[in-house]
């Protein structure tokens, strides 16, 4: 089929698209040369042909498949590349309990330790009474200083408030024997007969002159009746009871409240669990 004015456009389009055989391409060129008025038509169609741009795909590295290299990679390294779900931290009862106990212990030491330190600075240790009794004979101390017995009383009071104190006794006359620091202080009622016969006192071996023995006011004001002495029972569970732990003096009421709170806390945790 030859190119003419009726079918030239189809040939031109096929020529632009390079769909013509070499012979047909030559025929198109000859037609244009023979008919210059159609050269502009062919030129306009040529303009519709796009010129390829140089556009590079930048992420070719992600497209390559390298099974040989991939096979050489250790499985541990491959696993690191995967996302891993983080493990949730489960609340632990033991952990909380330990933390609570440590906190309470720290507060206990910080709060009460300071109180112990302050109390310890003005503390009169009960050893004082034993030292006095060891150094001096009871009768000699009475001879030298009438207030010696009072000092012994004060020392005994500081030793323990819960124990029967000499001060609480209602006996008219008494003499304190503090032979050993570890022994409990014993009070003996002293009657008029005993005072007239000092040798009958159970713990005094040396003869004591009654006039020299009682220079103090308490002794001089002692009644002369011979009734049996009565003792007042001291409540050992009183609120201001003191507990000794090494060099620390612990307030009994505070310690009891603290232990109750600890018990309540542990019971609640057990019920929650």
């Amino acid at each position: 089929m030859s190119i003419n004015k009726n079918n030239y456009e189809n040939y031109f389009l096929l020529y632009i698209d390079q769909e013509l055989a070499a012979s047909d391409q030559a025929a198109v060129k000859n037609f244009v040369q023979a008919n210059p008025e159609y050269a502009a038509e062919l030129a306009n169609l040529e303009k519709t042909k796009m010129v390829p741009d140089t556009i590079r795909y930048a992420n070719k590295a992600f497209l390559y498949r390298l099974p040989e290299i991939e096979a050489t990679l250790p499985q541990v390294f491959k696993n690191k590349l995967y996302k891993q779900s983080s493990t949730l931290l489960q609340p632990n009862f033991n952990y909380k309990t330990k933390a609570a106990l440590l906190s309470v212990a720290a507060l206990f030491i910080l709060f009460l330790g300071d109180r112990f330190y302050q109390a310890g600075t003005n503390h009169t240790w009960p050893v004082q009474a034993s030292i006095i009794s060891k150094k001096n004979n009871f009768s000699e101390s009475n001879n030298n200083n009438p207030n010696e017995i009072k000092n012994v009383f004060v020392s005994a009071k500081n030793k323990s408030k819960s124990k029967p104190s000499v001060k609480n006794l209602e006996a008219p006359n008494f003499i304190v024997s503090n032979e050993s620091p570890t022994r409990q202080i014993q009070a003996y009622p002293v009657t008029e007969e005993m005072l007239n016969k000092p040798s009958s006192l159970p713990f005094i071996e040396k003869t004591i002159v009654p006039n020299e023995m009682m220079p103090s006011e308490t002794m001089t004001e002692a009644p002369t009746h011979t009734e049996a002495p009565s003792y007042k029972v001291v409540d050992t569970d009183e609120q201001d009871r003191t507990i000794y732990l090494a060099n620390f003096e612990i307030n009994g009421a505070s310690f009891r409240g603290l232990t109750r709170k600890l018990n309540a806390l542990l019971k609640r945790n057990k019920s929650e669990k």
């Binding site: 389009l13 632009i16 698209d17 741009d53 140089t54 556009i55 795909y57 070719k60 390559y64 498949r65």
Partner: protein, 163 residues
């Protein structure tokens, strides 16, 4: 297809597939995703695809991915990024004519635009384009000729308006 042949396909055809998709949809990220998907499918079907038909397979997959993308996004027109990418082209025969041609191509429908790009950029025959776009050879010929005539008239009109 072995892995070495697949990597050769990446070297030879990745740029062409990317350019074809980018010129059609105008979005760099979307074009990259489509290219990546195309090569993923080629890798999955590497045992079924002959190495000499890998290029046609890649363009076929990429074209259908692009059509799906256009249908989803309803982007039949080229956006600003298309102009930016085109402006960065290293080869420009006639900058003014090129801009006019790009403006005219933007007015083509997606099928005609793909036909022009596959024909001019990749040099596919009508038959190959028909295989890629799932069209008959005569359909490719008619659609492409209509697109050429439209572009010619548009260019003449734009040149007259510019002058």
């Amino acid at each position: 297809m072995r892995d070495i042949e697949f990597n050769n396909c990446v070297d030879e055809h990745a740029d062409g597939v990317y350019r074809f998709i980018l010129k059609n949809i105008g979005h760099v990220e979307d074009a990259q995703d489509i290219v990546q998907t195309s090569f993923e499918k080629l890798w999955v079907n590497r045992n079924k695809v002959e190495p000499q038909k890998a290029k046609s397979y890649l363009f076929t997959v990429a074209y259908h991915q692009m059509i799906d993308h256009i249908r989803k996004e309803k982007k039949a027109t080229v956006t600003d990024s298309y102009e930016e990418v085109s402006a960065k082209a290293t080869y420009q025969k006639d900058p003014e004519l090129k801009q006019l041609l790009l403006a005219a191509i933007n007015e083509l429908n997606p099928t005609q635009k793909s036909l022009v790009l596959l024909k001019d950029y990749e040099g596919y025959t009508y038959q190959e384009i028909g295989e890629i776009m799932n069209l008959s050879e005569s359909q490719v010929k008619v659609y492409l000729h209509r697109a050429r005539i439209f572009l010619k008239e548009k260019l003449v009109h734009l040149e007259k308006a510019a002058n």
